[in-house]
């Protein structure tokens, strides 16, 4: 059901971008434009995947039941996280299928080569994976804070939006002394990746933030069992 919804939305989104981009000359390829909008799809996909990870288990007492086994809280958190990461990747693989379809059905081979250049394909994909690693841990953490699935999902959306928009908002408000936030400007980093400027530091930052959130989730689970 979740996958059907995501495939439908991502498919409609992908082909709409391609159709609109092909109407007049563009500075970027349609694929780059699509990848630039990936945050919008993640705002739907990540909360849908993560909101049911811990909140309903806590609500129904299943978490307590799991903690009564020799399994450690770390194993429970990592088990849930890795399984949801797998589903996240599986969801985004649909875009690979759409790329294949649009590549195979492209009329002009030269245009297709430009549209599907390695930098356009891999820059966005790497950023999607790297930011997914972080956002999923954020969603998992939100799900551990409450017993209510809807609140967990809502909180995830709000925090994701805050993380994505805060540096831009500060920039708009001309708050210069928060320049330290610039390396975390999600939307700017996304643009860089999509245009082929891949920076390892952003990937490392996503992984570190993800590790911190997973550790906090583990502590939260231990604390809630008390």
């Amino acid at each position: 059901m979740l996958f059907a919804l995501f495939y439908l939305v991502s498919g409609a989104f992908y082909f709409s971008v391609f159709r609109l981009a092909s109407m007049e000359p563009q500075r970027y390829s349609p694929l780059q434009l699509f990848w630039e909008m990936q945050w919008l799809l993640n705002l739907i996909w990540v909360p849908l995947l993560t909101m049911r990870l811990i909140a309903p288990d806590r609500n129904r007492g299943l978490l307590e039941s799991a903690l009564a086994t020799p399994t450690t809280p770390a194993a429970i958190v990592m088990g849930k996280y890795l399984s949801v990461l797998y589903l996240y990747i599986l969801g985004w693989l649909s875009v690979g299928v759409y790329m294949l379809i649009s590549r195979l059905t492209a009329l002009n081979a030269a245009d297709a080569a430009i549209a599907f250049s390695p930098s356009a394909v891999w820059g966005g994909a790497i950023f999607c994976l790297s930011s997914g690693v972080f956002f999923l841990s954020l969603g998992l953490w939100c799900s551990s804070l409450t017993r209510n699935t809807i609140i967990a999902g809502g909180l995830t959306v709000c925090l994701m939006l805050l993380y994505m928009m805060l540096p831009t908002m500060f920039e708009q408000a001309a708050v210069h002394h928060v320049g330290a936030l610039n390396p975390f400007n999600h939307l700017e980093n996304l643009s860089d990746y999509v245009s082929g400027e891949i920076s390892i530091s952003m990937v490392v930052a996503h992984f570190i933030m993800s590790a911190i959130l997973l550790f906090t989730t583990m502590l939260s689970i231990e604390h809630k069992a008390e």
Binding site: G61, E64, S65, A225
Partner: protein
Amino acid sequence: MPYAIETVDLSKNYGPVEALKDLSFAVPQGEVVAFLGPNSAGKTTTLKILAGIMSASFGEATIAGFSAAWQSREVKRHVGYMPEHNPLPEDVTVEDFLRYRARLKELRGARVSAQVEKVCALCDLAGKIMRRPIGVLSRGVRQRVGIADALLTEPPILLLDEPTIGLDPHQVMSLRDLIRGMRGAHTIILSTHILSEAEVMADRILIINKGRKVVCGTPEELKEHYGTGKCLELESNLSLDEIKAILEKTGGALESSEQTPRGLSCRIAVSDESFEREILKMLVEKSGLQLSRFARSTPTLESIFLQATAQKDEQREDL
């Protein structure tokens, strides 16, 4: 005799609230202990500490020789815990759920299937039930799934938190038989509100109130201690005022009264046998008396429970 479970001055605070205070008791191996107490007495908190999922604020709990505080993983390997309300996922089948739980409990390979089959046979879950989603099962069957889960690794200790809550009498009987069948092979702590259940199933009864131990002993010891010769049951055609008048003269105290088809049934607390004789003497002097019952009451666990939990906190006893 080695103790399967031993607690020494176990205390648990939730902020300023004392959920448990200096709770000490020991359970020998193979014994079934009924854990009784009013709501919020601290039963579930105690079981959670013994199951290794909650830490005590003070004191010590040793389960199968392992410290619940420092060796909680070992404790979890030796304990089968069925939480209150028996939480189960609705959308998976019994078999899939038990297989998943078996893996969580560190069973691997062929042992998973073997143990799942074994506990399903033991808890009468074999056949079609195994392939049904848990959400469609009756309450009684779900409780059996919970017990099957607790038994998966054949733990020496079972902690069952109100296993018969919400079941109809047939389901209660079936579950009682199941637990009775495990007597001797497992040390069992059974938290319950149903006093008759405790009386029938337990070797010993531990009553706690407001987080403190009130009394611990066999049902016979409790009855002897709390009840013998202290109550009189009287059923006659006399009115309540007439009974009260008799009691004013003899000194007994009316505990309860109830109108029945045969007349007024009263429960009277008396301090010794001379009061009984006095009361009987005054009754027979009444003209037109129809006495349908005059007997020393056998103390029920209900009355013992009420007496025990009404005692002051300081009065704690081991029988």
